[in-house]
Amino acid sequence: MTELLQHLFNGLSLGTIYALVALGYTMVYGVLKLINFAHGDVYMVGAFAGYYLGSVLGTDRAPNLGKAALVTIGAMAICGALGFVIERFAYRPLRHRARLTALITAIGVSFLLEFGFQLNPILRAPIEFPPGPSPRFFPALVDLGAPFDLLGATVSRIDVVGFAVAILLMLGLQWIVYRTRFGVAMRAVSFDSQVAGLMGIPVNRIISGTFVLGSALAAAAGIINASARPRIEPLLGLMSGLKAFVAAVLGGIGSVPGAMVGGLTLGFVEEFVAGYTSSRYRDAIAFTVLIVVLLVRPDGLFGKGRVEKV
């Protein structure tokens, strides 16, 4: 029983990361109908942004809650800006081209981030940038103490904090999407961007805002994950990004609650399959889920079926 409970907690920890990143995929797909391949790499940049900010602010020597918050917010801002820049210069010019073109561009941006970060450091001080291909250790941003016992399972405090932060962010997103004018505008653009534009909605600004939001969430996910699993490297976003995308598809791509549910579900599935059967198939699980979903119910759990009109 404790084993089951432990797996549950592990799955939850994994799932929250997938959920946060999946939100970015789903929101961007909603407004642009584009699979932003570069999103997983924005998550990676968030982790590194946290690493660099942390070293500048000195959290590796003196972990401190205030500084941790500063680092997190700073990383979110940096990635938000990155998301804005990517959309503005790589995707916006292709808005009226075929979707294939934008998809290939997204792949190009993804490679650019991945391999750009793998270059050996050009800048040496105050930070070594780019970080180079070898993994780096992410020092704890805040010293929380030893893991504690919960109903027989052991839970580490950073997982609890991470989960709390994730929930807060997701609630915040829900509020933005369903209770603000920006959210209404975003949903309108998701539904039909042409008509939304005719109704006076500044489509470009909404789309930029969506990118910024999604990227900020990915950055937060990057920092939470790096705090719990303190090894970061430029290819961090590869597998995690892909899995988060699967989570978004599972939940119904384009649906915000879907991404959250999809992320948590995938986290649990991966944890239970790896824990109870063979851990070798860990990565393959995500792809199997993807294929099953796409073949059986392409709209995912929460998506609405769309009819193609000729």
Binding site: P147, E270, S279
Partner: protein, 419 residues
């Protein structure tokens, strides 16, 4: 009409292929042979190592050890009057890149000897290429037996200056048993020939000594989350966990094990040896043990002198990769100096005859399988570094060529590690 259509792409192809022969230089397509001894000619050593990626310190340390050796040899006049030089390629931790790098070193850079790799998976990729081109290859620290042995046949051109995993696996098995540990779980890296082989050898010996393996889990190098496997292991209550992987993963595994409340110590092999293990593992890796090729605490003057020279050159205490890299380069030079002519066959023959060579990782004698028979040391992680615990000598020969997992080939009475 079809002719016209076919002609143009064919012409395009032809032009391209023709362009390939622009630099016609009358070189025969023969296997690379060492340079003839002419004044000013150099002997090139080729090193394939993982300078980047998850095991970056392996390639980097080995390279430094080799460089130190080459500098010292050149200072003493080189080999057969010729100076030595080194060409290093980074394989980024990928076996296919290691194969390509080896091919490039042989066909383009015309090296006389190949040094590398540290990881058995990558050495295995390089070995057939060295064989096919008749270029001797010495691996400093690949411990999987298949590197020098292809099935039942010893590879004539591949050598190593370290012990092999059938021995290394028994080292920790014996150590654990002596400490009274009866139940061990294994967590191995399935992507890695070294890890899988070592885990199997440990498993076999530990069971022979009366212990039980309560769980056998696997992961892939680069995985971030090991909690699923660790939770399954925790449920079986092992007294120790054998993790024969590479240092970055081991460090994370140690952390996550402690986070799950597991107090059992970890055990491992020479893949742990890196300064990064302590950096990433922190307090989590304290109290764990691993087998290794040498310990910098060894008071033998030859070793201490080497450490002094290495520190003076590179500003750090050499780890076992640097030490074995140094030994590999030295053994290669020694072999070349004894070779009767400049062909690859002669070089291989001379290297195979290496006997009682005074290396910094121990006295090196290559047995009939081209493996060095040497003792291993057991180290404990204490206070953020590896502290010497004990030395384990190789067993006496086992009767007949029984299971491949027993102690290695017939050797003279065990010599202590250069003490």
């Amino acid at each position: 009409m079809g002719f016209r259509r076919a002609l143009v792409p064919a012409a395009a192809l032809l032009l391209t292929l023709a362009a390939c022969e622009k630099k016609k230089s009358g070189e025969a397509a023969a296997p690379a042979t060492p340079q003839a001894a002419s004044p000013g000619a150099k002997i090139w050593f080729g090193h394939v190592g993982s300078l980047t990626g998850g095991e970056a310190t392996f390639g980097d340390s080995t390279d430094k050890g080799i460089k130190l050796a080459i500098d010292e040899l050149n200072g003493k006049g080189g080999v057969k009057g010729m100076q030595l030089d080194l060409k290093t390629y980074d394989d980024q931790g990928k076996p296919e890149e290691a194969a390509l790098a080896a091919t490039r070193l042989i066909t383009q850079d015309k090296v006389t000897v190949l040094l590398g790799e540290v990881a058995s998976s990558r050495s295995l990729a390089m070995a057939p290429i060295a064989e096919a081109n008749k270029v001797p290859m010495i691996t400093p620290s690949s411990t999987n037996p298949k590197v020098t042995k292809d099935g039942d046949k010893t590879r004539p051109f591949v050598f190593r200056v370290c012990f092999i995993d059938p021995f290394q696996g028994t080292v920790m098995a014996k150590f654990a048993t002596e400490k009274g540990v009866k139940k061990v779980a294994i967590l191995r890296d399935v992507g890695n020939a070294y890890s899988v082989g070592l885990a199997d050898y440990f498993l076999s010996k530990f069971k022979d000594l009366g212990g039980t393996i309560v769980n056998d889990q696997s992961y892939k190098a680069g995985d971030q989350d090991f909690k699923a496997q660790l939770t399954a292991i925790k449920a079986k209550g092992p007294e120790a966990i054998y993790v024969p992987g590479y240092y970055t993963d081991v460090a994370l595994i140690a952390r996550q094990a402690r986070e799950l409340g597991m107090k059992a110590p970890l055990m491992g092999g020479d893949g742990w040896d890196s300064a990064k293990l302590f950096e990433i593992g922190g307090a989590a890796i304290e109290g764990s043990f691993f087998s290794n090729h040498y310990s910098p605490e060894d008071p033998s003057p030859r070793i201490q002198d080497f450490i002094k020279r290495y520190k003076a050159r590179f500003g750090a205490v050499p780890d076992s990769m640097a030490a074995t890299g140094y030994d590999a380069a030295m053994v290669a030079a020694d072999g070349l100096a004894r070779a009767k002519d400049a062909t690859g066959d002669a070089a291989a023959e001379a290297i195979a005859a290496t006997k009682d060579f005074p290396g910094v990782t121990g006295v090196i004698t290559l047995d009939k399988d081209h493996n060095a028979v040497k003792p291993a040391v057991v180290l404990e992680v204490k206070g953020g570094k590896a502290v010497y615990v004990s030395t384990v000598a190789p067993d006496a020969p086992a009767p007949a060529a029984a299971a491949p997992m027993t102690a290695p080939n017939p050797i003279p009475a065990a010599k202590p590690a250069g003490k």
